[in-house]
């Protein structure tokens, strides 16, 4: 059959209206399947009549739609216009995510800040220790300076001897306070197990008297050592002796010597 003629007969409208017999319905349905132009025609007719009838629809409430869904036990409570709702839902989630990230970030920040506080605390302790150390050092230097500057001092310069001609030392002897200091900055560091020993000497006859050891030579930064009172010394000498010192000086290891 000519499809155009078939279309013009008006049977397709009645097909959409639902007015044909079962046999006719199957016939049109088959025709539509085999001829796309017939199928397109049917769809256009349907759109037309659906649009026309929809425009005459009296108002019916959204509640009606919800009632039907309730009857069908459709839990999904979607209203016809769902997009704004979805959008606000997503906004809610987005806000929650942003908030969560924010909290996470702040928490991390807090952790970092706490770490910083701890490390600053450690630093402060370290600096305080250093300050105390410097303070002590400073006091020691001041003391040394005060001792050396005392006008009542008799200063005896000891010069280097054969063992080590470059070495030198000074003895600050306060005859009023009977305090004797040795400035040993010009002596090399003693080898392990050895110690410098300071001697007060009488020249005629030559009588050495030990007045002390320069103990802890390496840790004494000022190299200023307090030693014992000398009595009436005429000269001072410094020898290198085994640890603990000797009863009499080892003259081969006489580093410095000087007359009063």
């Amino acid at each position: 059959m000519d499809t155009k003629e078939y279309i013009e007969s008006g049977i397709l409208e009645l097909y959409v209206y639902g007015l044909l017999s079962e046999a006719e319905n199957i016939e049109v349905s088959t025709m539509a399947k085999n001829h796309p132009e017939i199928n397109d025609e049917i769809i256009a007719i349907e759109k037309g009549i659906v649009a026309l009838s929809s425009s005459f629809s009296p108002f019916h409430s959204v509640a009606n739609f919800e009632k039907i869904k309730a009857k069908l036990e459709l839990k999904h409570s979607g209203v016809i216009e769902m997009k704004p709702k979805n959008w606000s839902n997503y906004m809610g989630w987005a806000a929650a995510v942003v908030l969560l990230i924010g909290i996470g970030f702040q928490y991390q920040k807090l952790g970092q800040t706490n770490d910083q506080i701890v490390s600053i605390g450690n630093e402060k302790e370290k600096i305080t220790k250093e300050l105390n150390f410097l303070d002590q050092k400073n006091k020691a230097v001041e003391t040394s300076l005060a001792v050396i500057r005392d006008q009542k001092n008799t200063v005896v310069a000891l010069s280097g001897q054969a063992v080590n001609p470059k070495s030198f030392a000074k003895v600050y002897w306060n005859k009023e306070t009977k305090v004797v200091y040795v400035d040993a900055a010009g002596l090399p560091e003693p080898p392990k197990g050895m110690v410098y020993q300071v001697w007060a000497l009488k020249l005629n006859p030559l009588t050495p008297t030990s007045i002390g050891l320069l103990a802890n030579f390496d840790t004494n930064n000022q190299k200023i050592f307090a030693v014992q009172d000398t009595g009436n010394a005429e000269a001072f000498g410094i020898t290198l002796e085994p640890a603990g010192g000797s009863l009499s000086p080892t003259m081969e290891k006489l580093y410095t010597l000087g007359k009063v």
Binding site: V28, S29, T30, A44, L52, S53, S54, I68, L72, H76
Partner: protein
């Protein structure tokens, strides 16, 4: 212009796929696409607005529950649900023991629904329709009313309109062509 749904571009096939997947959103699409059309048909048949709403509920429950009995080879999905709407409306009328349902049916046509203009879904649609209805031949209103809205057979329509049986189909076709021209379909 005419009342159209947002899902107007969804085809019958796409909708059926969703419905068969038991996708709950499919029900919303189904309702969006066809509830207005069916409600106007129901209102032409059942003149009481409250009863019409009850019928509409019943119709959609039937559609959803009997979807598996729809057979594509026997007709359009829209035609299937249109018949459910008509039959449910007629059952409603019968259960209410209307004495002369036939007379009741033919007393006024679908254009009558426009009287309730303040209750129309969309006033812009109403204006569009009113303009179109003015242009539409009175014969067309009658024939669309009888065949589409009231489900008259060709025989019944030819008797009602006093026109030869053979011209019912073609006259209706000409009227639908006018409508499609107006809608640019």
């Amino acid at each position: 212009m005419f009342a159209t749904t947002k899902k107007e571009n969804m085809t019958q096939d796409e909708l059926l796929v969703l419905i068969h997947q038991k996708d709950e959103k499919a029900f919303t699409y189904l309702y969006d696409m066809y509830s207005k059309s069916l409600f106007s048909v129901i209102n032409v048949l059942v003149k009481n607005r409250e009863e019409a709403e009850d019928v509409l509920q019943e119709v959609f429950v039937k559609i959803w529950k009997n979807i598996d009995s729809y057979n594509e080879s026997k007709g359009r999905f829209y035609t299937w649900i249109l018949n459910i709407a008509r039959n449910t409306s007629i059952d409603k009328l019968r259960s209410k023991n209307f004495n002369d349902s036939q007379k009741n049916l033919s007393s006024d046509n679908f254009v009558h629904l426009l009287d309730d203009s303040n209750k129309m879904v969309n006033k812009i649609d109403t204006i569009g329709i009113q303009e179109f209805i003015k242009k539409l031949k009175p014969k067309c209103i009658q024939i669309i009313d009888l065949l589409f809205f009231k489900g008259y057979t060709q025989q019944e329509a030819s008797e009602e309109l006093a026109i030869p049986l053979g011209t019912v189909k073609t006259q209706n076709r000409n009227c639908i062509n006018d409508l499609r021209l107006y809608l640019k379909l």
